[in-house]
């Protein structure tokens, strides 16, 4: 079984937000609207977070694109009282939207703030509504449940189906999430961390590689390459 992981090179990221947009289209996250977004209720499975240090004129800005970290030891899973959030056999952390009771303990427990709550029934402008992704995994979530980045599991399933239809074995390079595919600066890498020859495994061992909040013992599977 592959152990999916991601590496993001902060030297290459220039905060164009195309990963956020691609994620939105791929995963049918609802449009919150300006008022709700100002209240902090926008749902963005992938966010590009600016980290500004210092004061003008000595300002240093770091940009942190943040998908779900798909931790090896996730803080969210053990606090879920109904096993609605779980890790599948390939290490991807998922949410069962039909089971979630909306207690929001996982959103409170996750140190990376990757989990989002549906405050209302999801809505889209009519023009967008016609172009929702039809895949079953990303059907609009009902109000009152939690959702988050899935590393685009629907793409993984489709990649496997395609490989089978073409009569070849599935390669770990057959599948990448939408944010990785779209990244303008080619800053994102995706693949099997257990395969020592894969690019992600090599980059994850680079001296520039680090993980966010390493000290919390969550063992994220998203690595960053230091800006530098």
């Amino acid at each position: 079984m592959p152990r999916w992981g991601m590496v993001i090179d902060l030297d290459k990221c220039f905060a164009c937000q195309s990963c956020t947009a691609a994620c939105r289209m791929e995963n049918n996250t609802p449009i919150a609207g300006k008022n709700q977004a100002d209240m902090g209720r926008a749902i963005l499975w992938n966010e590009v977070l600016p980290f500004v240090e210092g004061e003008y004129p000595n300002v240093q800005t770091t940009i942190l694109p943040r998908p779900c970290m798909h931790c090896e030891e996730p803080a969210c899973i053990k606090v879920c009282p109904v096993k609605a959030t779980y890790k599948n056999e390939e290490g991807i952390v998922l949410v069962d939207y039909d089971r979630c009771i909306g207690c929001r303990m996982c959103t409170v427990a996750c140190p990376y703030a990757v989990r989002y709550f549906n405050w209302y029934e999801p809505e889209w402008p009519d023009d967008l509504k016609e172009h929702l992704n039809p895949e079953p995994e990303v059907q609009p979530r009902p109000k009152g449940v939690v959702e988050k980045c899935t590393f685009c599991v629907q793409r993984l399933r489709k990649a496997r189906e395609t490989a089978e239809a073409e009569g070849r074995t599935f390669q770990t390079t057959d599948y990448i999430p939408a944010c990785v595919q779209t990244c303008t600066g080619r800053a994102r890498y995706f693949g099997d961390l257990d395969d020592p020859n894969s690019l992600v495994a090599k980059l994850a061992h680079s001296p520039r590689a680090y993980r966010v909040f390493e000290e919390l013992g969550t063992h994220p599977k998203v690595y960053y390459l230091k800006q530098g």
């Binding site: 709700q36 209240m39 902090g40 209720r41 977070l49 600016p50 980290f51 942190l64 943040r66 803080a75 053990k78 606090v79 879920c80 009282p81 109904v82 096993k83 609605a84 089971r99 979630c100 009771i101 909306g102 207690c103 929001r104 303990m105 959103t107 409170v108 427990a109 140190p111 990376y112 703030a113 989002y116 709550f117 549906n118 405050w119 209302y120 029934e121 009902p142 109000k143 009152g144 449940v145 939690v146 909040f213 919390l216």
Partner: protein
Amino acid sequence: MEPKNQHIKAILAPVRKVSTGDYLLWGALLALLLTGLGMWVWQYLEGLGITGMNRPVYWGVYITNFVFFIGLAHSGTFISAILRIAGQSWRAPLTRAAEAITLFSLPFGAGSIIIDMGRPERLFNLLFFGRYQSPILWDVTAVSLYLLSSVVFFYLSLIPDIAMCRDRLTDAPRWQRRMYEILALGWNHSPEQYHRLEKVLDGMAVFMTMLVVTVHTVVSWLFGMTVQPGWHTALIGPFFLLGAILSGTAAVVIVLALLRKTYKLEKVLHIGLFNSLRKLLITFVLGWLYMMIAEHLTIGYSNMTEEMVVLNDKFSGTYATVFWSMAAFVFGIPLLIFIFKGKNNIGWMVFASVLINIGMWMERYIVIIPTEVSPRMLHVMGQGSYFPALPEIMITIACFAGMALLYAVFTRFFPIVPIWETADELPGHAHPAEPVPATTGD
């Protein structure tokens, strides 16, 4: 043979009639309760978006209420279980009044969790798919067990008094007499029955004491088990527990003063009880201060980045006003009142107790919200903010109204002072079951 109690007339007097004033009060409380219920229906139909909650403040007033009401509930168990084991016989007249607080605040504590859920109709997923690793399930287990055992404990000690109502209130409406008859379970005041009852209550008191410690510790672990700054401390359990017993005991003072005044129970609920409670409250307030200092000094001294963001926010930032008024309400003002004004003065005692309970609600709020406002990802996410919206305020008021309603109705149908426990002589006992204390409570 009935237990002999010189105050039996005074104790049963409130049960004999429901006045117009009662109906007005009940009506007003019911209206508030129904308004809250309406708000909840609206919230259910629209979604939790109508509250002030957002990201990163995923938990707000509802969870504050949950912690507060469960804390309030610790009054009864403390008075009737812990003090029972400790052999504090002065507590006898106020056991039921205190236990009734437990019984009637627990449903609103447990209910607050359901109100807070995004999909309350999936509540039973907890039974079908429960994960015992989750603090939420610990809470559900502990609180429901607590509710169940409180009902049993309360009912058991009520049986002899129901039997007395059955025998004495023969002019009550038919349904009411029938209710007493069923609930009394054929109690006939035989010495053997009293021996068994005492034995069961003693045994249950041990169990209840363990449960009361567990319940509020588990409530605090809802926060303590996460790695969030401000929550992740081993002290949070004992701190929550002590706060719960403090607010519960203060609530007993308020309720006792109200009962004494409205139902003319001055002789039974004598001033000595207030003086005894005063000493307990001084102890708890000082204990609370000790924990407060222990907790904040440890955090402040170690100076860890994420922790300090939350601590500074409480001490001198957005939440400074709430934090320092909370400290004044729970500790500063009440302690001065208890020491210098409280003795033999019910008015001051009630004032201080009301302050303590307002302060304790604020304390729950100040533990929960500032941590969420400044999460670990703060440096990239920016500061959050939270202010409760109308539905949250109305539902909170409804919870308090609902609790008061249950209490008010109960006191009109059942004696709020345990007749048999305060009796001068119990069948089969050579001595009084619970010696009546001297009026100073010393």
